[in-house]
């Protein structure tokens, strides 16, 4: 439950409608390419242009991807699904109707488990109402430059397969909505069913938001607002946060509740960081859904669904669990790695196996590897240090051959010089220092620093730190831990 700066208890209610573009080569009902970025109106045919006489033919691959997604989202896949026409007039909808699914969607119910953003040791289960297939509309480009108002239509996107995923109004904070979207994107990219690029429009989010306010001993619901035009997960989070504040203030000002006002559509203005009223839903069209007579219902036999289930493999939630138990790492750490996607998971697993120490591998992944990726804008797939080489380096650390600081030097050298750990160690002139050498070094240091010896004897053990720095200068290969222990032992032994 989120609290505004108010005397009232306020609960935020959020439901999401997510349109995901499925990664098919061709459109949902014709064989035009779905590739993004082609010149306007070059990827069209009589079917997606809605020309007289043209008829739709279903793209089986889209069905397959929808089934996979539905199964991964724990949905029911019914034995029969069908197509309906959703009718409205708009210039980017050349048939005057969109082929969609009304009462028998391809995926029903279901849920997605997310890490609770308020407590990363907990998960939250976000229930899903449904997911259905539909064709995308084209794109209207409004050009109001130089005082003339001109709209141009690009129908390349028209007919592209979309899966619309609808959640229950089950999220309670903007952070939770964002966590849901991140987890959904992770799952869908993991499955390879969608690119989920908000910038390219392959993932679009509408958020339904209202507040439940406790006042005068009753719970009051504010009017529901559907927020559109958000182009990043961050925008979704900020738009919801804005809307929560706006609705609260609006309620304080007007006292309007859900009974007083129909659902309203508001757009998000990223630059202004505000939502603005678009149109009232009450005056919106009656879509007059009816079964599309040009298409047959789709039968989905049990065997087909089972076969799809078998191809899913390990999903991110399961991977998190496995990494925790198999490599003895914390939930948070497993989360960070898994959230980076399959390539990062593979890199981590190879590193951990080779190093023989999952926790160390995890720490290095999160600090050194991810920082380098960020600094150099690399992808893990093209990271210069192979996982196996990093694993070998960490094994040396584990064996006490290198301390962490020296290992970082080696790591940096490997990064810059395309060499493995052995090569880097050699190039850096790092040699193992034997115990006799360390003893000689320590004796020399103790003799030269009687004050430190005195302080240690007086119980101030941390004074030894001054000697470690000096040891490093005299012999960069000396292991600080070893130096510390040897010095303390020699002082004790007098």
């Amino acid at each position: 439950m989120s609290r505004l700066d108010t005397e009232h208890q306020v609960e935020t209610i959020i439901g999401l409608e997510v349109h995901v573009q499925l990664r098919t080569q061709t459109k949902l009902f014709c064989r035009c390419s779905t590739e993004f970025g082609a010149p306007p109106n070059t990827q069209t045919c009589p079917v997606c242009l809605g020309l007289p006489g043209a008829l739709p033919v279903i793209n089986e691959h889209a069905i397959e991807l929808a089934i996979r997604t539905g199964l991964a989202l724990n949905c029911e896949i019914p034995p029969l699904t069908k197509w309906d026409r959703k009718q409205y007039f708009y210039p980017d909808l050349p048939k005057g109707y969109q082929i969609s699914q009304f009462d028998l969607p391809i995926c029903a119910d279901g849920f997605l488990e997310i890490t609770d953003p308020a407590d990363d040791t907990h998960t939250r289960r976000i229930p899903l109402v449904r997911a259905h297939l539909e064709e995308d509309a084209g794109k209207s480009m409004h050009d109001e430059a130089a005082g003339i108002s001109d709209t141009r239509i690009d129908l390349n996107r028209c007919g592209t397969p979309l899966l619309e995923i609808v959640t229950q109004p089950a999220m309670r904070s903007a952070a939770e909505a964002r966590a849901f979207l991140s987890e959904l994107k992770l799952l869908l990219t993991h499955l390879g069913v969608s690119d989920c690029e908000m910038q390219e429009g392959s993932l679009r989010v509408d958020a339904n938001v209202n507040l439940h306010i406790e006042a005068d001993g009753k719970e009051i619901a504010t009017p529901i607002v559907e927020i559109k035009n958000m182009n990043s997960f961050r925008a979704v989070e900020r738009a919801i946060e804005y809307e929560v504040r706006r609705q609260y203030i609006d309620w304080e000002d007007t006292g309007e509740t859900i009974e007083d006002r129909a659902k309203q559509t508001r757009g998000w203005d990223d630059a202004a960081e505000a939502t603005f009223a678009q149109r009232e839903k009450e005056e919106s069209a009656d879509y007059r859904y009816f079964p599309d007579p040009d298409l047959l219902p789709v039968r989905l036999p049990r065997e087909r669904i089972e076969a799809a289930q078998a191809t899913l493999g390990e999903l991110p939630a399961a991977t998190r669990q496995r990494l925790q138990s198999q490599y003895d790492i914390k939930a948070y750490d497993a989360d960070v790695i898994v959230n980076q996607g399959p390539a990062m998971i593979a890199y981590f697993e190879t590193t951990a196996e080779t190093a023989g120490d999952g926790r160390r591998a995890s720490a290095w992944m999160q600090q050194d590897v991810m920082r380098s990726l960020k600094e150099s804008d690399w992808e893990i797939g093209t990271f210069p240090i192979p996982a196996i080489d990093l694993g070998r380096l960490l094994r040396k650390v584990d064996a006490g051959e290198l301390d962490n600081a020296r290992a970082r030097d080696v790591f940096q050298y490997m990064l810059e010089n395309d060499t493995d750990a052995e090569g880097a160690i050699e190039a850096l002139g790092i040699v193992a220092v034997d115990a006799g050498e360390i003893e000689a070094l320590c004796r020399e240091l103790l003799e030269a620093n009687p004050k430190v010896v005195e302080q240690v004897r007086g119980g101030k053990e941390q004074a030894i730190g001054a000697l470690i720095g000096q040891a490093k200068k005299k012999n960069p290969n000396a292991n600080p831990q070893q130096v510390k222990e040897t010095c303390l032992r020699m002082i004790r032994e007098g």
Binding site: L49, G50, P52, G53, K95, G96, Y97, F290, D294, L296
Partner: protein, 495 residues
Amino acid sequence: MSIPLDSATELLRLQAAGELSAVQITQAALDRIAATEPQISAFTHRADEAAIAAAEKIDRDRSAGLPLGPLAGIPVAVKDVLCTRDMPTTCSSKMLAGYHSPYDATVVARLRQAGAVLVGKTNMDEFAMGASTETSAMGVTGNPWDPSRTPGGSSGGAAAVVAAGNCPLSLGSDTGGSIRQPAAFCSLTGMKPTYGRVSRYGLVAFASSLDQVGPMAWTVEDAALLLQVISGFDPADSTSLDESVPNFASDVAATDVRGLRIGVLRDSLDQEGLEPEVRRAVLEAIDVYRSAGAEIVDVSLPHSHYWVPTYYVIAPCEASSNLSRYDGAHYGYRAAISDAEAAERGPLLATYCKSRDEGFGAEVKRRIMLGTYALSTGYYDAYYLKALKVRRLIRGDFDAAFAQADVLLGPVTPSAAFRLGEKTDDPLQMYLCDLFTVGANLAGIPAVSLPAGFTAEGLPLGVQLQAPPLQEARLIRAGAAFQKLTTHHAQRPTL
């Protein structure tokens, strides 16, 4: 020699025998069209040059010894509801005046591949909505038997051009009787195949779950020839049936009807509004079959009084949706709007409304409104959903009837061809023209209209045979048998 433009079979034979060339035939057809058009106005587009060019190619191929298609050199006219890439496709609507489809309908492509010579596009009721071809925005078509009367509709032009001796074959489309009723009015053989037997790809949709393309000709033999070419699975039409197509020529030859169980629809013969002369024609047809050894059984279709109401819910619902695409934005008619109109409703809505208001005729608008209403929230269950349920009962009736009979025999139309203008002010009277034909569309079964005699005034009459799904062959056998035993199909108008 006189060129038999009333028989595709004969024209094929004469070409094969080297007695006629495709160009000679085509030229004769074009001459005949030029002679009769002033009286009947059956074409929306005539493709004289392209036809001659196609015929020349056939003749070249023939002399080069190349393989020729089954309709090589045969002039064929096509209802203007089928897309053609080299001719306009208007659906006889102002909305699509001058519209050129960038592609051929599957049936048109199959015609071309079969060597047919396309002579033009034929007039029809606007978007196939009507029963007299009078809702056309391209003028009124006359019946070759009496040009002051309608050739029927909506495939009135396609019927008239065959009846006028312009060409032996034409393609029509049948949503509620639009092939069979004009065939009856013009003394032709017209068949609506099983739903899904013929591809709808490129057939401009009126009511998608009812529309079907079919052949029109004088004889069953010729109609079968054309049906053979257009039938068969098309991957571009999801509702097309992936079923093998029999060789219909063998059914034309097999005309023994002994033992054939002919179910007579007694109820339809007692139907109010059925004219006595039509009734007489049906009774005579029954006698013809009985005397040839067929078994006559009485059958009933208990829900037949729901056919027209059911049809006039389902068809307008689908039409209202199918015709949404004509919005003036992408192609077709776009009305010019004034600044005042733009200011009043916004330029987009003003363009939509005015384009559709001016582009569509009254009957089309009436059906769009009917369908829009019936699909609206709060009415869907009471109209569309109810109609779908009744449709299932209607199918069940046919299933039961076909358990007792191999084919069903009854009237096609309540009357012979009526006068132009007679029913244009009374849509309900016009809708009742579909009384006996819409059942086959609702049930998806094949049905054929056969010439069955003439009224005292000399107007053609028809009878209808209906068969179970995919049993076109049965209709062809029974129809060919009828034509072997009668001469109605051999009568010609004096035009």
